[in-house]
Each structure stands twice: as C-alpha cells, then as structure tokens.
Amino acid sequence: MSAPMISLQGLSGTTVFDQSPARAKSGGCASSSCGSSAKPHEMDSAVWEKIKDHPCFSEEAHHYFARMHVAVAPACNIQCNYCNRKYDCANESRPGVVSERLTPDQALRKVIGVANEVPQLSVLGIAGPGDACYDWKNTKATFQRVAKEIADIKLCISTNGLALPDRVAELAEMNVDHVTITINMVDPRIGAKIYPWIFYDNRRYTGVEAATILHERQMSGLEMLTARGILTKINSVMIPGVNDEHLIEVNKWVKERGAFLHNVMPLISDPAHGTHYGLSGQRGPKAMELKALQDRLEGGAKLMRHCRQCRADAVGLLGEDRGQEFTLDRLPDKVTYDASKRETYRAVVARERGDRLAAKSEALGMVKTAGSGKSLLVAVATKGGGRINEHFGHAKEFQVYEASPKGISFVGHRKVEQYCLGGRAEDKSLDGVISTLEGVDIVLCARIGNCPEDRLKEGGIRATEAYGYDYIETAIGALYAAEFGSEPLAATA
C-alpha cells in the first residue's frame, strides 16, 4: 500500500490531499491481489485511456484532475430561453457566465499560467459563453496554440450542435477527443418552447422550423463524431413541465447514436439573471426531482452525476473555482511552460488511485456481504482525492452516495452555503444546510462540532467524524455493514 500523499503538500496551493498524514488511513488490500477488477467500470481499455484523466467524462477522475475553460468563443448562433447574454457577474457560478473574454493569445498565456500552478490540470475546454463550433476561428486558433506548447493536455469543446457537422473533420484532425453537445429535445414542438430562434444559413429561423433544423444538425453531428470515435457527452437541461418527461426519449435517441455519457442538469432560473425562464417564472427542479429522473434513466445512456454546472471560465477541480486567481492582470506578461509539477502529480496520482480502487472493490464486497435489501443515502464532505477530508463547517458542497445491494454509487452533489466562516458559525446557514441535505441518512466529515451535530440530529440526519480521512467508499462500506447487521470485515483500517 502506498504512503499517504505527503509528497504533494509541497506542490503549490493544492488543496487536494492536504489531510494530516498521521490520521490518513487507507483501505484496501495489496494491489497485487486485486487484479484488473480495480478499474472503475467495465469498459474497453481504449475508452478508459481516453477518459481516465478527464474530470467531466469520468466520475473517478474528478477526484484527481482539474479542467480549465477559456472564454474565447463569445458569439452564438442560438437563443435559448435559459440563457441571457446581457447580464453576467463574477460572483455567480453558472454556465455561460464569464468575467473576462480572451483572445487566443491571451488564452494561451492563461493556460500556461494555470498549468504551471495547478498540477491537477488535465483538460482545456472551450465552452462559450457563445458556441465553440460557431465561433470557430477563435476556438481553432486557441487549440492550435495550446497543443503546440502543452502536448499532453486534453482538448474538449461544448456546443449546441448547430454548426457541429461543419467542424467534425477539423476536430478529429486536432485530436479533440471529447465533445459535449447540449440536446434538450428530439421533438421540435418541444424545442420550440426552449429556443426562440436560431441563426442558420445566413438567416434567422423561429418556432418549430428552427427546432427542426437544430434537431437534425444535432443528430447528424453526433453520428459523425461517433463514426470517428470521438467521445460525446450530451448535456440536457431539465425544465419541469417542458422537457422533463421528454428527456427519457432524448436519452434513447442519443444512446442509439453512440453518445458516451448523458448529463441531465437542473434548469437554473432566477429573475435576477434576466433570462426568459427567469422572468416568466419557470421554476427549476428540486434536487430530489432531478435524482428521480436520473434514476428512471438508468439503463439507457450512461449518466453523469457529478456535474457542477461550472462557469465558462472555471479553473480547478470540479466543485472549486480558482478562476479569480488567474485573471489576465494576475498573470505574468511572459510565461514559459514548466511541466514539472504536472508530471510529479501524475506519478503520485497513479499510485494513490490504484490504492483507492482496491479499497473501493473491497468496500463493495462489504456491502454485498451485509445481505440487506435496504439502501442508505450518505453525504460526504471532501476536498478531493476520494477521501473524507473536509470539516463539516467548511464544506461548500456535499457529495452524495447511495449504498444499496447494487453497490455504492455516486448520485450527485448538493451545494450549501458554508456554515462556518472565519471561525464563527452562522445559525441561519445551518438551517439552509439541513434543508439542502433533505433525504440524506448520514453525513460523513473529517470534523464536526457538537452543536451542529445535535441540530442535524433534530432534523433527522446523523453526522459522524468516525471515518475522517478514510477513502469514501471504504467508509460507506463499513457504515453499511455496521448499519444493517453484518460485522464489518477485518481489513478496514
């Protein structure tokens, strides 16, 4: 078993593995006895190679690797009812929001600046604020410049699909392995309720005609990507009463056309954002409604459940945004790429993740031996590395796992307002945390005070620091076994 991650503490301001080494425990057996089952999903090894360092395409990778987006593609060819280009704000985190738009040269400077400081960086994405395939000149220039400097960075784009068929050949040429298409409908009558207009073939189209064109272009773009072996993730915005039921149909269509992953995201709707939906009072779904729909989609295209709906200029691990540390004015005028931090980090992660996967497969065994038909919803406070290593009061989000006879699976995350600020606990935000954790049976964290623990208990949620610094799955496996009768297996610590 490898030693805890001491060697990484020296690496810049990374917050990933900064647990106290003395307390760090690790589950799992010697790696030699666990064999190839240590891979997180049974998939073809070529696919695993493509996704293993991509935090958005692999739930496992999101514990270790970071992405950054550069906002070089502001122009868009579609109006969506959930988007408003006019208002954005640095304090907001939602898709399409950016604080600065970059030229390809500025983007290159930023990518190098981040790569030198954030060892977890593995992916560069272009996700707007407009459409990366429509604003193609900027997208292409950025990718070409970055790939020349940092050869091992993965390039990916996000698009609405309208201009995608025209760009597939060039995407393949530039080794863009990962494409995300936002597909909210396959029935143009539903599309007409989501898209007021599109700009295509030098004119504006509206209504069902617009949605029909968009639908046909999206499907042909997806088929072309699949034919070239480019992995495709489908993003769908869940809009209650508009396309929520319809997304089951969307899931079938995209699966048939080879989509690798389907990410159903909740509509973000706030009058202050000035979007059509925000102003017309269209509500977004609740966490449990989203989970219910995702559960119904199981068995179709594989679901992504760890999406954070990040900003179009986000930097860092999913769930954290360090974008404000890397604005242009904070970057040196001249930057030279230094590969050393990223290389060191990769070597350490290779060891750590083998260990964690072994721990995970053992934890699965514990859940199965418990022999109970029940399920347990567990919220975890973590700052990365797959461990329970965050204090309850410091958590800005909880990762939610479900343990059941089927195994241990990640079901999503719940964002909360940080309860403990600068040593002072805020009572009001604790109420918010408790209501956000609705439906959760137990909270696992590195530390928690008596007061919040008691308050949670009043709200029907237990909390414990007993598994602090353990691997998440190890802790949940032991917890499940303890909860439902059977004795925990010996090798937990």
């Binding site: 280009r85 006019k86 604020p129 030098n202 004119r203 504006r204």
Partner: protein, 64 residues
C-alpha cells in the same frame, strides 16, 4: 443606407463582426461599431441584415 449598434445594449459577443459581408463592423474601444460608409444593409447579398439577424439582443442592430 446603413445600420448602427446601440452601444448600451450590445453584449460585445462579436457575432455581428464575422457575419457582416461588408467588413463594416469593428471593435472600437468598448463596443462594436458599424462604419456607415461600408454598410450596405446587406442589399444584394442576403435577404436580411446579417448583424440584426444574429444579434442576440433585440433592437440592438437597427437602421441608423
């Protein structure tokens, strides 16, 4: 015979710049501006004014 951009409404997305068939739109200072000498209102090239068609904000690219 020219169009103009209402600067206070413009989000500076730049879509108009690369759709303009006459190269009449440039980013100047804080906003995009249309050079009235170059703007043809797309007459003879397209049936609709490209800047107004692609502009995501309504009533922003308008007749001058």
């Amino acid at each position: 015979m020219a169009f103009k951009i209402i600067a206070s409404q413009c989000t500076q997305c730049g879509a108009c710049e690369f759709e303009c068939p006459s190269g009449a739109i440039k980013f100047k200072g804080e906003t995009y501006v249309i050079d009235p000498k170059k703007c043809t209102e797309c007459e003879g090239t397209f049936e609709t004014q490209q800047c107004a068609s692609v502009c995501p904000v309504s009533k922003t690219c308008v007749p001058a």
